[in-house]
């Protein structure tokens, strides 16, 4: 059976990609943010995962409103990035994985998740920024990625409880896979932010810290929220917490988790940026 080593939650905003391209990591604005990452990179380097399952939301590169899935999952050997229209540099292709992908797809449909299955899928900064953060210089070619996109753009969106259950089903699928691969799950995006409306710029630090606290051992306190409550407490794009909850859901049946790292910094662009590393007993 494949092993889940743990989960990583991280911001995925495009400004990070731009900062890395321009080598701004040590500037006063960015230093505190980037200084949080080496421990997580070291952990990944030691653990040598084979596969990363990445929960993210598409921001209008692959999916438009003509056909917007609630949950989409990739089952391709390669995922390309492309021009997103606002001038962030395109990054090299991401390596995919089809066997575990299809195994997960089968498990999800069997368990009543009505996913869109993608054999071709452009991945945007929501996925590529976290990869570049973990393996700077775009050195992520060795790790196989399974992209899982959750609608965080147009209401209705899947509820926090549904996203958690979705993650849980993916975790169960990984454990029932007849391989010995080492898998990490990543929840990307968040935390509180609002880009649109007169309330633009809203950030809620106490709420973000509460979420990071509770996600470790009491995620059920977070899954009770509705998406409207998340918008109220965490801003219009604060619903990206759903990606963190899906990541945490995947670790639900792993027993107690060890929180190996946590940092929070704001503002990064318009967001509260959280970084968290939760390890299972399967990790060395």
């Amino acid at each position: 059976m494949a092993n889940l080593l743990g989960g990583i939650a991280t911001s995925h905003i495009p400004a990070i990609g731009v900062a890395m391209d321009k080598g701004l990591e040590e500037t006063p604005y960015w230093k505190d943010f980037f200084d949080a990452y080496p421990p997580v990179r070291d952990w990944l380097y030691t653990q040598e995962p084979d596969i990363a399952i990445i929960f993210y939301n598409d921001h209008g590169l692959e999916f438009f409103h003509d056909r917007k899935p609630t949950f989409a999952i990739g089952a391709s050997e390669l995922y390309e990035n492309a021009d997103e229209g606002w001038g962030i540099a395109e990054i090299p292709p991401v390596t995919g994985e089809t066997e575990l992908s299809w195994h997960i797809v089968n498990h999800l449909i069997e368990h009543d998740f009505d996913i869109t299955v993608c054999q071709e899928m452009k991945v945007d900064h929501g996925l590529t920024v976290p990869l570049t953060l973990m393996w700077p210089g775009h050195k992520y070619g060795h790790i196989k990625v399974i992209p899982v996109a959750i609608n965080c753009e147009r209401h209705p969106m899947p509820k926090p409880s549904r996203c958690y259950a979705f993650g849980q089903a993916i975790g169960d699928a990984v454990r029932s896979f007849a391989g010995d691969q080492k898998v990490v799950v990543m929840g990307t995006g968040g935390l509180s932010h609002q880009l649109d409306g007169q309330r633009a710029g809203y950030i809620n630090k106490p709420f973000d810290l509460y979420c990071m606290d509770k996600i470790v051992n009491e995620p059920e306190l977070l899954t009770q929220f509705s998406n409207y409550e998340l918008v109220e407490k965490a801003g219009a794009q604060g619903v990206e917490l759903n990606m963190w909850l899906a990541m945490r859901g995947a670790l639900e049946n792993e027993g107690a988790l060890k929180e190996l790292h946590r940092s929070y910094h704001l503002p990064i662009s318009n967001t509260g940026a959280g970084l968290q590393l939760l390890a299972t007993d399967s990790a060395r």
Binding site: A75, T98, W102, N106, E110, V117, Q119, E120
Partner: protein, 119 residues
Amino acid sequence: MATNEKREFPGTYLFNGEMAKKGYGLNKMCFSFNNQEARDEFNADPDAYCEKYKLTDVQKQAIKDKDIIALLREGGSIYYLAKFAGLLKLNMQDIGALQTGMSVDEFKAMLEKNGRGEV
């Protein structure tokens, strides 16, 4: 008990993940046949068109031979193969006959028999 556990049925090619992966280029080519220009382009030079969609050699040969069973084995989905059949001006009874090794009339007679419940 309802389960999606893998099962096999004689004379049936379940279009699942494994097949969908294998047949992706083939199906993508046939999907393009929704457009008249694509059909014209194929008709003008079938080999070049197969090449454009990176078909495997086995798939190219099966397209050339109009060998439906081979196309199914190579990951073709009947929904898209039907568009290839349309391009060849074949209907579902013609396709049925090709796959079962019957004449079209024999195939139609079998359908009639099945329809009466005389199985």
